[in-house]
Point group: D2
Chain length 396, copies 4
Amino acid sequence: MSLQNPVFIPGPTNIPEVIRKACDMPTVDHLSPAFAPILKAALAGCRGVMKAERGEIFIFPSTGTGGWETAISNTLSAGDTVLAARNGMFSDRWIKMCRRFGLEVIQIDVTWGEGIPLPRFAELLHEDKAGRIKAVLATHNETATGVVSDIAGLRRVVDEASHDALLLVDGVSSIGSMPFEFDDWRVDVAVTGSQKGFMLPPGLAITAFSEKALAASRDAKLPRNFFNIDDMRATNVANGYPYTPLVGLLNGLALSSRMLLDEGLDNVFARHARIANGVRAAVAAWGLAPCAAASELYSNSVTAIRVPHGFDPARIVTHAAERYGMAFGAGLGDVAGQVFRIGHLGMLTDAMALSGLAVAEMCMADLGLDIRLGAGVAAAQALYRHGCEQMKAAAD
Amino acid sequence: MSLQNPVFIPGPTNIPEVIRKACDMPTVDHLSPAFAPILKAALAGCRGVMKAERGEIFIFPSTGTGGWETAISNTLSAGDTVLAARNGMFSDRWIKMCRRFGLEVIQIDVTWGEGIPLPRFAELLHEDKAGRIKAVLATHNETATGVVSDIAGLRRVVDEASHDALLLVDGVSSIGSMPFEFDDWRVDVAVTGSQKGFMLPPGLAITAFSEKALAASRDAKLPRNFFNIDDMRATNVANGYPYTPLVGLLNGLALSSRMLLDEGLDNVFARHARIANGVRAAVAAWGLAPCAAASELYSNSVTAIRVPHGFDPARIVTHAAERYGMAFGAGLGDVAGQVFRIGHLGMLTDAMALSGLAVAEMCMADLGLDIRLGAGVAAAQALYRHGCEQMKAAAD
Amino acid sequence: MSLQNPVFIPGPTNIPEVIRKACDMPTVDHLSPAFAPILKAALAGCRGVMKAERGEIFIFPSTGTGGWETAISNTLSAGDTVLAARNGMFSDRWIKMCRRFGLEVIQIDVTWGEGIPLPRFAELLHEDKAGRIKAVLATHNETATGVVSDIAGLRRVVDEASHDALLLVDGVSSIGSMPFEFDDWRVDVAVTGSQKGFMLPPGLAITAFSEKALAASRDAKLPRNFFNIDDMRATNVANGYPYTPLVGLLNGLALSSRMLLDEGLDNVFARHARIANGVRAAVAAWGLAPCAAASELYSNSVTAIRVPHGFDPARIVTHAAERYGMAFGAGLGDVAGQVFRIGHLGMLTDAMALSGLAVAEMCMADLGLDIRLGAGVAAAQALYRHGCEQMKAAAD
Amino acid sequence: MSLQNPVFIPGPTNIPEVIRKACDMPTVDHLSPAFAPILKAALAGCRGVMKAERGEIFIFPSTGTGGWETAISNTLSAGDTVLAARNGMFSDRWIKMCRRFGLEVIQIDVTWGEGIPLPRFAELLHEDKAGRIKAVLATHNETATGVVSDIAGLRRVVDEASHDALLLVDGVSSIGSMPFEFDDWRVDVAVTGSQKGFMLPPGLAITAFSEKALAASRDAKLPRNFFNIDDMRATNVANGYPYTPLVGLLNGLALSSRMLLDEGLDNVFARHARIANGVRAAVAAWGLAPCAAASELYSNSVTAIRVPHGFDPARIVTHAAERYGMAFGAGLGDVAGQVFRIGHLGMLTDAMALSGLAVAEMCMADLGLDIRLGAGVAAAQALYRHGCEQMKAAAD
């Protein structure tokens, strides 16, 4: 594995130089006044990126998994029922966590590659006149399959059922990379991590809670200690922390969120879409198809690519690492033997993306797949240079 | 606050240059073979530093508080009884966490400045013929008071009572700085963090579990998710992680633990004792006294210093930060208005320690305390230059 | 210009992570014993990489240009005659420097793209029975044209003429990237810089002097002050320096030279040849040709590429920077309007090289050149994956 | 030697965190537009710090010694006469360089510890009706003795003699630390380095040339190549460089000069004076005396301290390094056996300064000098806490 190559895993992402430097701090006394501006800027930045002006942000030294636990343990009680679709490895894991906490899960199994089945959710919510369902869990972007689900649609479904369930959304691999509207979608708890759209090393679980979620937290009975938002809020208001904060990462988060907001979220999302379109064009040029079942499900942060039947896609990942020193994502769970994944979130240049595609196609060719070298690269190039035709015209 | 001055808080500590560089890694795919040597070295290093050859190490992306939660939630069930002394802020917090988890706590209140009252523990354990007490919780070094308790003695007490309780030890501010014998003391769960004796930034809860604790974990019913040692073990054995690991910090931990072991733990402890002796000599020269009630309780990682009655010690901490850009620790909890603290753990040179003492005495003088400038520094110098007399002799 | 993209200028090169960290040192007292091992390792490493076991190494805080001055001013006197070919920008500049020093230059003009004309040199040296020519200057690798000259052949020519001239070689863009034999070729002064094959930031002029050159220095009358090898030698022997050394860069040089030697110079050169072959395969696939007039002149550190007549190649460089944030080299001097350059020296992965080729072909297409996207990339890929056919076979 | 301790050599100085990060850049193509803002900011910053609005700045990849060479070789011709005082190691070296260049030097020997003898200079300049003296060389701050000379006075002396000589000033260890007025003093060439008041690693010779010096350069005949200001000017105007620039250091220089200007030069100088006063108070408390012969000669960047007769001061420097891992400066040249030096330029906090004094007095005590521990520290503390008495009063 070369430290010089970009990584093409769906997070942690390639960390921009300035962000690495912002994270690499000497020890700062977190109980001194020097901590306040860092914490404030990090919280404000997250609020901006999550479009959660009406939300309250809580940042825990942890990972996305800790964010899931924060969402559940602060809003629910043992025996509560939640509704969730299992359409990938990460929705599956969140469901399993719920069960461990003694929650009842109405698990809707869908083929991996599909999104959250809104009609089925609509039915179940309509039927639940008693309000047994306390929360609807949604994985915005399934990192295992490269499938983005329709959270705005899910909000409508809940509303149309006049259902009072909380809407808990895993935005780990979407927030900062694809449109996410905490306020507009009236999300109740959103969860992400530092190592995805925020372009930082891992180490922070970032959550936003709505007023309604905060109200629910007052009755929630699941044990919560490390991930207790009351402790976090009580200390944050005085620019403190319930335990030792990860000052360097928070400082990095303050910077990276400002970078995203300065660039403009719409521009950030357009940049991700552009890079993703190039990757998908390459996939098509290779004669392969995304795992995502329909184009409206395509994720702009990761593409899971189906390989020909009988070919083990893990070989691509291993070969890329061993021979070319480059990291791709392997298939996980139900699609483990069917896909490999190219992560394309965070700060990627065209050149970086093309290097990943070039290596991917060398690997596939090396391993005997019928891939024409340069084909995927050319397809992505055609897309990346879009808008440069006028130069050609001017030169003619 | 100056980034050029050393910090004198009792953790996070001053991070040596090489360790900062080891932590500041570009993104490494944690699912690639590149992660295995990092994880293995970190685990082996912790085992060495904790003298836990018979223990199993689990490292969570978290802080010491997460380590407490790991210790409790993996070994106990709601309703279980634990025995604990409250002799400082951190023992107090651990007790509160137990209560939140629905544990019964036999809380022994002692004056802050005292250690764990072994005779009282002996009584209670002897009386507990029914084995109601499932665990004894011990804070090895109370960071709030600078008091080190006798864990070897506590082990003897438990043994003499032929009691089967688990021995759970918070070694957050002792491990890596003062003698700690996981195996010899037959500790069942030991907890520490990256940001103390290991000289790293915060972000890792480091725990060691004995065979007995692992056995207890099989029956423990408290919900455990993020801090689940079963998930950690199941993935670690294959050089994996249950979620995204903090690769940079683990890499730093691999280095810092090797540095400690290469220096020799006895030398590391002697170094800490030496620096601490200098600080205590300065305290005496100032006419002040440690919070610790007796010399055998003196901590080598932090000294809490009692100020004259009626003087608010928080002023020293504020003044040091504002005027001299230096960080000391404020008093916490029961001793908040009585002490300020000088942290002296991690990699400190004589020169660094003396700079802290020099600033502390300027602050006290500035604020009207009757301190002779240079007095504390001179007392520490006399100690730090010990062994150099022969030079003088040779020069005569 | 993106800091995330690799650079494709012919130096400074892409700096590996570990080397950046080795250079980024806190202040070290260069008069303390801490400096000796750094200086020694740097000197020994340079000796190894230059294959100059019989040479003496002098490292000046400067650049390659300072190295040229070191070579001249320490061995020659005003009025001395030197023989040099002008076959590119850098040989031209060295010649100009000689003239400024009041040296007589027998300048052999050759078409840029050609190497040093050995037959012509042979003639001139044969004719020079009086030994008027004091030194032969040779630019081993002309960075402006991507042409490598035959230094071993030049040595033979000098020998066959039984001529006593010093052989001064500019190895700035060859040493560490292509075979260079200071001892075997009996080079008298070799010159390079830190920012090329040594993969460091710029800042050091690295020179090796033969016994004969050292002898010549005793009679040389050109003023030499900053670049005086006598001052350097007199201080280096005591692990000192005639002025403040660049400790961080020297520390980086100690590491980078060890990395090259550990990898094995033959492997390093083979790696450069492999990457360069891919670049040249791409050039051919684009229907273009290197500036170098014959394949035996091809440089493995930089390729200058001729563009179609009437097209301004500087537009490619500008467009790559502005549109794709990537740096290529522009044409210089006589070939300024005819070529652009791809630097491929230092530590480059296949993935990095392919990203440069992909961007180069997008730029050419954008600007209206008749380039099929992916064509050059595919040609390079075919070469880079060489040796992987057996995998395909095994998979069949 | 500990990398954690501050250094107390008179340069290179302790590098602030942000400056280290500014210098540690990935490779930037210096021929791309990315270089222009870095170069411009560095040049403008130097102009500001040197107060050289009427001067032209030239920055060479080199050290202060290269700056001396730049000053001489660009303004003088072989056989020219210069006037210089030899009052320390660095003035001595500059004189020697002049001689090597074939200049005639009127060398005024003064006891080391004295400044430039203005009356003697006045005499000589008055006598020189023929204008034989082409330049007056002045070492503003003699780093070897800690003596600052009166450059404004020297300007007056030259003016009063109605002499046309150029005024060439070595400000290596004064500029950025003590008042320096390029324009007001009508300095013709000023020389400094990156590693002193600019707080950077070594690697840059920074020079400012007056109009008169630029005019002189047109007739100057000394060979100049690497240090040729014409080449530098010709390329700088187009944001270029005559060879590969040290982009990282220039980026650091852009930042450090802005930091100095943002702080306000008067504040910077007051800060240096304050720290220096503390050091001198310590020296007095030790019963020792500065090498500088009178208080008006005291340098605020370095103090050379006379030790008792018969005691070898080099032992202090060696002992400090070996025993306490701290770097002080040894005595040089004429005062080698008489003084050791404490450098106190650059960004030093009170705490850092006190740590140096504490170690110095331990060393002296260790080696048998009659030093009361804490005495020097207390004297400096009394000074550093000046202005804090009101706190004490308020507390009373």
